[in-house]
Symmetry: C2
DNA sequence: ACATATCCGACGAAATTAGTCAATTTTCTA
DNA sequence: TAGAAAATTGACTAATTTCGTCGGATATGT
């Protein structure tokens, strides 16, 4: 279980989808604005998330992504492993070939740690996260800051007060 | 608490010191051979470990490094934080400035995870690790494979069978 | 004196991560 | 049917980190 910013972005984006996709799919453009992640990078991430069966893409205007199953059934560990390359074998992680085809001195230690992390993150699912007060507060702040493109054919409005907080 | 190969190398090297330094200091050259870590990289790591007060360097022939306190009093979390830059502030780790001076959506989640990892690694010290059967077995295998420079003025021996496994 | 070995800092290559760009396909709406 | 919205794909680039090298300086045992 590797921990990189890639995985963190993925979890953040999935949380955004879980929070906003009850009525309609969530476009990556909206996620990009709210979460300050580049659209192109989100495309990469959701390509993997989709192939991992965690989200479904809906094409065309008004489309976007939505969870492919209940938020309670998607835990954080799943999301992270979905977007990170499974290069457990190259590093000391997978097999015990860390030192000339033999396990290195601390092989078991890192295996145990990896398992600990996985266990911890497996206990947390998207639904749980959304219940947390801090998460909801941040999500509401983001919604206020960013005018999304929810109404499809709405006339272009001059959204004032962009710079303010 | 970041987890990189740097930290893994440091823990491995410290474990090597703990295992071998009961009688005399352990030279970085020996660690390099046993653990397959480059001497120059070890110098970097031990520079930090020394400044963190975990090891003491002994100069001159027969010198090397030894633990500065009992192996029971050195835990894994300490070692890793000693060699890794404390760039918690730049990443989402330290303050809550992950998104425009505000905490990002998953800030608390990563803080909690970080704490979990730290707690887990704090419970393991070098002495504990050395008691593990797998660790001892690997250490003994390494000792057989590598002829160390224990005897200072020993005549140079042609150590054969280098390419094999 | 000399060899061993820590100590120190700067440098550079290789690997990995993060992010961009360009193009295609699908689907909705008019 | 045209046009726009949006997913989908893959190659490419930039930035960062890791890993390792080099050249020295200092200390110390024989």
């Amino acid at each position: 279980m590797r921990l990189t910013t890639k995985g963190r972005y993925a979890v953040t984006a999935m949380l955004d989808v879980a929070y906003h996709s009850e009525k309609r799919p969530v476009s990556l453009t909206d996620i990009a604005k709210r979460q300050n992640i580049s659209l192109s990078y989100l495309e990469q991430l959701f390509s993997r998330l989709r192939r991992a069966g965690m989200v479904e893409g809906v094409r065309g205007p008004g489309g976007g992504y939505q969870l492919s199953r209940d938020a309670k059934l998607i835990n954080i560990a799943d999301i992270i492993t979905a977007v990170d390359e499974p290069l457990d074998s190259t590093r000391c992680g997978g097999q015990g070939n860390c030192q000339n085809d033999q396990p290195c001195l601390t092989h078991d230690l890192w295996m145990g740690l990896s398992e600990q992390i996985r266990l911890y993150l497996s206990t947390i699912n998207l639904h749980d996260l959304l219940q947390r007060k801090n998460v909801r507060r941040v999500a509401q702040r983001q919604d206020r800051r960013v005018k999304i493109t929810a109404v499809i054919t709405a006339p272009r409005e001059e959204a004032g007060a962009e710079t303010g907080g």
